[in-house]
């Protein structure tokens, strides 16, 4: 815990978890030991091995070692070969990187990206920052998605079911049989259905067109695991346009969000994160955006809000009505005559209403609900605020999802009625994301021909007759339209790894077309070039995208939303005190339908900091009421469905609600034996259907302790900050009075070290803006892939041996204003409101990326006995693996706890059967960075390989380095621009400017270690409660 005092006497208490706040005995014991577990000596004793070495043993071992060393020395070095190309491709230079503008396809989203390749192998995604409309920001899941290319679990050959087993066969055989089957289906007058997830590509549309011409009765049905139909439907009813609008968070000064994780997982969060952060930092006048969040689970977005009110999701509608009425009062519009809304009477709603109204046309109200009525009310509020055409654009709409659940349920009925003769499933996985509890095994038995096109075997296609391997997206050509009239190009960056064929060609060949390569060009490429008439093809490919922003056409809002409000009022039973379950997505696995890649799960959840599992988040109050503690396995049941998952007491969780993440519990047959198999439980069967669309809030669930416990792999409490002032924050009011707030106190320091002289050459440094960092973890995955950081898996994380060089620390503190909380509590008439317990509902969160600080007076350098860690003349704290002998003194002496020890050899080790354990997976390794072996220490190097490479390029070109030319992997990928890296000796660089900012401070500056990283004080756009300022 940290007690932060300022001259006004306000105290801010930070804690990393409830254990720390309560300072439990176990926590105290744990925090004493940095290395949680030593050598398993006790285990060795148990196994009957004596720890005492006698003289004979000593001599034996001594003699053996001597002999072994002598023999090893006699051994000749292995012969290595250098095999050049027979004909070197023009663009490829061995040992040099080559970049392509292409795209990342992840969780239904198309993200323009720059793909870095080495010797024809993609090794890293970098964001395409030239886009204006379609965001090129890559979040954690996008970076991790690269590993799916080198996944040995991909389908290698076309598969055919022979005596109930899928067997490899050839494309000719598969094609012939499928064409026969399709003809049969067409001849019997049955339907041929193509079931895909949302795919807005040109080639996909063409393939369907051709298929429809060839066979009668071809129908296309879209199935997405996560439904946004509420928004689609609401916009259709409100404006006659069934679209996902383009939300412009960059233009919103005030944002009110209801259960909407728009920074983490909602729709195009990579874009919203960037836009939102644009006004998240106060300008010279102290002007910044303000964010109100109303939600039941503490989401990543909620943790970034200025004001957050814990509500029950089921009552979201009432809050919306209340908000509508408060704004209507100010606007002089008609009130919605709903009495129940009074029950949610909240100061925060009132405050947000007035803030929104003050910024009409510059505000935005969003809801994560999939309920049409709620979304129509949101539209009504935005309409009243005049936000359409300004912060919400329906003209340049997003094509994120085209899912129509009615059509899907209709398809199920038709299959049931044996009207479907052939089913072609491309990527969609309805068996896993089974929302209505359909029995697909039974249903699919009624279809004669079942064909799947996919890169991996999944829950749906393992039962099919034919599985046709699709190219990975990095092996394919295509053009997508993620936004209306804006296009993103996909070009291959590697030749096909397996005997696969792009889905387009597969579908065309079933329509009887010749899809063979012509002069080395694939059919997909030739056709794409033929169909692309909007601009010069080669130019478009080079840029990777083509954007057109049309002028926003005003739409008239016409819907009887009073009726919808009434619907909400009728539906919500205000005195219903049943426990409600809120299903959410995590920033890693999201909907869970993509082939799982290990970084998705090794990356901790930003809020709970738990890796590798899903779990039940419960409120502190519920935990005390039912005496549940972290890790207790709970049985959660709703009707006949039930799952058993460990509990996690989540501060900020609304009492009376629990939360569980979707996207887990996949049932896959894989070649690899690792933690990705059997992760958590699948919650899709819990998804209910109400008001005609999927509902992710399930009412009246029961929980019950099973008596078992399960350890959660949490990186949360692995380090203690020992009450040091490491994260700083202030309110906007304080900032306006004094921009130096919290940083005004300077320590009188006496140094033990000699200062370094950086006047020559470069002086590398980093600035991290705590205001902009939203905790998304994109930097963590980007760093790990750039620097060959190994995956350690669940067990090792439980043993606190995570290897990530960069971690995002999450600190809780109690919100000072309690008035909102108590008002919400009024409606929980029956609940035992207790002040300390309700405290836990109202927490504030601060994120702080923590990495090697590259201290000038580095404590680690002082203690290394073998000079494995030394200082460079450019300000880097260097780590030399080949010198390290693994004493771990440096990690012990590091005040920031950022050094990582290689407890094992993480490559070629069956215990860690992730991508470092097979030849295909190793293709992703960055050849410029050493793969560390067992027994050495490692840590952030400020991406020294990138610094060296960029410097060398400048030297070769005989020029000075450009400002901001060197980018570390984390700074480059940060969607919000929170991390800035550069040369302090360059006066024009962004970093030099940020170092002069009043908000800048060094973490633990009192230690006088002189870090090269500046943090910038977090400013919250809140009014501090006066009462609090007089405390302490």
């Amino acid at each position: 815990m940290s007690l932060l005092s300022n001259k006004m006497g306000m105290k801010q208490q930070y804690w990393k978890g409830i254990e720390e706040l309560e300072n439990s005995a176990e926590f105290q014991k744990d925090k004493q030991n940095e290395f949680f577990e030593g050598l398993p000596l006790e285990q060795a004793i148990d196994e009957g091995q004596s720890l005492n070495t006698n003289r004979r043993d000593f001599l034996k071992i001594f003699g053996f070692s001597l002999g072994a060393v002598t023999l090893a020395a006699c051994n000749k070095a292995p012969i290595k070969y250098a095999v050049p190309y027979v004909e070197k491709p023009e663009q490829i230079t061995p040992s040099s990187a080559l970049y392509y503008a292409s795209a990342v396809l992840v969780n239904n989203q198309v993200i323009p990206a720059i793909v870095k390749t080495r010797e024809g192998r993609p090794i890293k995604f970098e964001p395409n920052k030239n886009t204006q409309l379609v965001s090129g920001n890559l979040l954690a899941h996008a970076h991790s998605s690269l590993l799916s290319l080198y996944d040995i679990n991909r389908i290698e050959n076309p598969l055919e079911r022979i005596s109930n087993k899928l067997v490899s066969t050839s494309w000719e055989k598969v094609d012939a049989k499928i064409i026969k089957g399709l003809n049969e289906a067409a001849n019997t007058g049955k339907k041929i259905v193509v079931l895909t997830n949302t795919d807005n590509s040109t080639l996909h549309a063409k393939a369907l067109e051709v298929l429809k011409q060839k066979y009668a009765n071809v129908e296309h049905v879209v199935f997405d695991a996560i439904s946004y139909e509420g928004i689609l439907e609401a916009n259709e009813k409100s404006f006659g346009k069934r679209v996902i609008p383009n939300y412009k968070f960059s233009k919103a000064e005030v944002i009110a969000s209801f259960n909407c994780d728009f920074l983490g997982t909602w729709l195009e969060s990579n874009k919203y994160a960037e836009d939102y952060a644009k006004h998240k930092t106060p300008d010279r006048k102290g002007h910044m955006n303000q964010h109100f969040q109303f939600e039941s689970n503490l989401s990543m977005t909620g943790s970034n809000a200025d004001y957050r009110l814990p509500i029950k999701s089921s009552r979201e509608g009432l809050h919306l009505i209340k908000l509508h009425n408060e704004i209507a009062k100010l606007a002089g519009w008609k009130q919605l005559p709903i009495k129940d809304e009074l029950e949610v009477a909240g100061g925060m709603i009132k405050n947000s209403a007035s803030a929104l109204w003050k910024n009409k046309g510059k505000s935005l109200v969003v809801s994560g609900s999939n309920d049409v009525s709620n979304q129509i009310l949101v539209n009504a509020i935005n309409n009243m605020l005049g936000n359409y055409g300004k912060t919400i654009d329906l003209t340049n709409h997003s094509n994120f999802t085209k899912y129509d659940s009615n059509k899907f349920h209709q398809l199920v009925d038709e299959i049931n009625g044996e009207k479907v003769g052939a089913l072609i499933v491309q990527n969609a996985n309805p068996t896993y994301a089974n929302i209505k509890g359909y029995d697909f095994t039974k249903l699919l038995a009624k279809v004669n021909l079942k064909v799947a096109i996919n890169t991996h075997l999944d829950e749906t296609n393992t039962n099919f007759d034919f599985v046709c391997p699709d190219n990975h997206y990095l092996e394919s050509w295509n053009v997508y339209e993620p936004m209306n009239k804006s296009y993103v190009f996909l070009q291959p960056t590697i030749s096909r790894v397996f005997n696969t064929r792009q889905a387009y060609e597969t579908l065309l060949s079933w329509s009887g077309e010749d899809v063979s390569e012509k002069n080395g060009f694939t059919k997909s490429y030739l056709d794409l070039k033929k169909y692309w008439i909007k601009s010069d093809f080669n130019q478009a490919i080079e840029r990777g995208f083509l954007e057109n922003e049309a002028k926003s056409i005003p739409m008239s809002f016409s819907v009887n939303y009073e009726k919808e409000a009434q619907k909400i009022a009728n539906r919500v039973k205000i005195n219903d005190n049943g426990l409600e379950l809120n299903l959410y997505q995590k920033v890693g696995p999201r909907d869970g339908c993509d082939a799982p890649t290990p970084w998705l799960h090794e990356t901790p959840d930003p809020v709970s900091k738990i890796c590798w599992d899903n779990y039940v988040t419960i409120s502190k109050m519920l935990a005390e009421e039912k005496s549940i503690s972290n890790g207790d396995v709970l049985k959660v049941s709703s009707g006949k469905k039930s799952v058993k998952l460990p509990a996690y007491v989540q501060p900020g969780q609304t009492n009376g609600t629990i939360g569980i993440a979707l996207g887990y519990g996949r049932n896959l047959t894989t070649k690899t034996q690792n933690d990705l198999n059997n992760l958590g439980e699948n919650l899709y069967p819990f998804v209910g259907v109400s008001n005609n669309s999927e509902n992710y809030t399930i009412l009246n669930v029961q929980i019950e302790k099973t008596g078992k416990t399960q350890k959660l792999a949490q990186t949360q409490t692995h380090h203690s900050i020992e009450a040091r002032d490491i994260v700083r924050e202030a309110s906007i009011g304080e900032y306006k009075k004094d921009p130096k707030v919290r940083n005004e106190h300077k320590h009188n320091l006496v140094s033990l070290w000699r200062d370094h002289d950086y006047s020559e050459g470069h002086h590398w440094a980093m600035a991290i803006d705590l205001n902009k960092c939203n905790g998304c973890h994109a930097c963590v995955v980007s760093c790990s892939i750039e620097n060959n950081v190994p995956i350690v898996g669940k067990d090792e994380i439980i043993r606190r041996r995570e290897m990530t060089w960069l971690r995002i620390d999450r600190y809780y503190s109690f919100a000072s204003g309690e008035e909102y909380l108590t008002e919400e509590k009024k409606i929980d008439k029956t609940s035992k409101t207790n002040k300390t317990q309700s405290h836990y509902e109202n927490v504030r969160v601060a994120y702080q990326p923590m990495l090697c600080q590259h201290c000038d007076n580095a404590p680690c350098e002082t203690v290394c006995p073998v000079l494995a860690t030394t200082h460079s003349s450019e300000g880097l704290n260097q780590m030399t693996y080949n010198r390290c002998v693994g004493t771990k003194y440096c990690a012990n002496n590091c005040p920031y706890k950022v050094r990582r020890f290689n407890w094992f050899k993480y490559y070629d080790n069956d215990k860690f059967d992730f991508y470092f354990n097979n030849d295909l997976g190793k293709m992703v390794i960055n050849p410029d960075v050493t793969v560390r072996s067992r027994g050495v220490m490692e840590k952030c190097s400020f991406c020294v390989q990138r610094i060296q490479e960029t410097k060398l390029t400048a030297k070769r070109e005989s020029r000075k380095l450009k400002s901001n030319e060197v980018q570390t992997a984390c700074a480059q990928t940060c969607p919000t621009g929170a991390i800035v890296f550069g040369d302090l000796n360059d006066k024009n660089s962004e970093i030099s400017k940020l170092y002069k900012d009043e908000r800048s401070y060094h973490a633990l500056e009192e230690l006088d270690v002189k870090p090269s990283i500046m943090y910038m004080t977090k400013i919250r756009n809140v009014e501090e409660n006066k009462k609090d300022q007089h405390h302490g």
């Binding site: 290595k80 250098a82 095999v83 004909e87 040992s95 030394t870 050493t930 060296q948 060398l952 005989s958």
Partner: protein
């Protein structure tokens, strides 16, 4: 070794002095009786065994250390048989072909790169050395044709030929933990290839000329200067050199001895 001899010598002299003092003036015994026997008889057998043992272990250890330091993993002089008996002495020496004609990426990439077979074909499409082999294509040149799929009699490439890359044996092997970039040295440092690779233009069969040990790298970095004058990247350094009247600025002064210049 020298140290041990000296030590024994000193010990011997001291003992001699002690013996002489004790015996005073007397009959002169034999050399063994007067000099050696008294010494040995005074030795404690345990201490003697231990000290001799220690000396032996130290000597063996020193030898091992030296062996490990200079021999293990050091392939100086390594000259393996190559799949094609290509002569640098002929091509680079007699014909004076520029090194970077074949090792073309040395000036702009990390690796100098072994030329791809089509580079050989630039000349060897015509040059077949038939005069030396009774009108037949030289068997060594034929190996290139086998790799790329070229029919010298028809003077054209064979259609749909399954090309076979040439498996050259790698001579210079740096460990993976060391990063070395050719362009840094060839282009930026303006170094001659021969500085590290030796008289390559005289080598019939290429051998490893330098020992490629870290000390060898460091030595050069200590001695050689950077070319600050002709490279705008070093503008600041060049200005400073002019002010201070220096003509030389070594790589080491520019941070060329720091660990993470090569190890990361």
């Amino acid at each position: 070794m020298v140290l041990v001899v000296l030590l024994l010598n000193v010990l011997n002299k001291n003992l001699k002095r002690i013996i002489n003092e004790k015996q005073g003036v007397g009959s002169t015994p034999s050399f063994y009786q007067s000099k050696i026997k008294p010494v040995i008889s005074k030795w404690n057998p345990i201490i003697a065994t231990l000290s001799i043992g220690t000396i032996v272990i130290l000597l063996v250890g020193a030898w091992f250390f030296n062996f490990a330091k200079n021999e293990v993993g050091v392939q100086k002089g390594y000259a393996p048989e190559q799949p094609i008996a290509y002569s640098h002495a002929f091509h680079a020496g007699k014909l004076q072909i520029e090194c970077q004609y074949c090792h073309s990426t040395a000036s702009y990439a990390k690796s100098a790169s072994i030329p791809s077979a089509n580079t050989c074909m630039n000349c060897h499409k015509g040059v077949q050395a038939r005069e030396k082999y009774d009108g037949e294509v030289s068997p060594e040149i034929q190996k290139i044709y086998n790799a790329v799929g070229y029919d010298p009699d028809q003077a054209k490439y064979i259609d749909n030929y399954d090309q076979k890359p040439i498996k050259w044996v790698r001579i210079h092997n740096l460990p993976d933990l060391a990063y070395f970039n050719h362009s840094q040295h060839v282009k930026v440092g303006n170094l001659e290839c021969q500085l590290c690779h030796g008289p390559i233009q005289e080598m019939e069969k290429v051998y490893q000329y330098s020992n490629l040990q870290m000390g060898w790298c460091i030595n050069c970095h200590r001695q050689r200067g950077i070319d600050a004058e002709n490279n705008d990247y070093y503008e600041e350094i060049h200005k400073k050199m002019k002010i201070e009247g220096k003509t030389y600025y070594t790589v080491a002064q520019n941070g060329g001895l720091e660990c993470s210049k090569c190890h990361y």
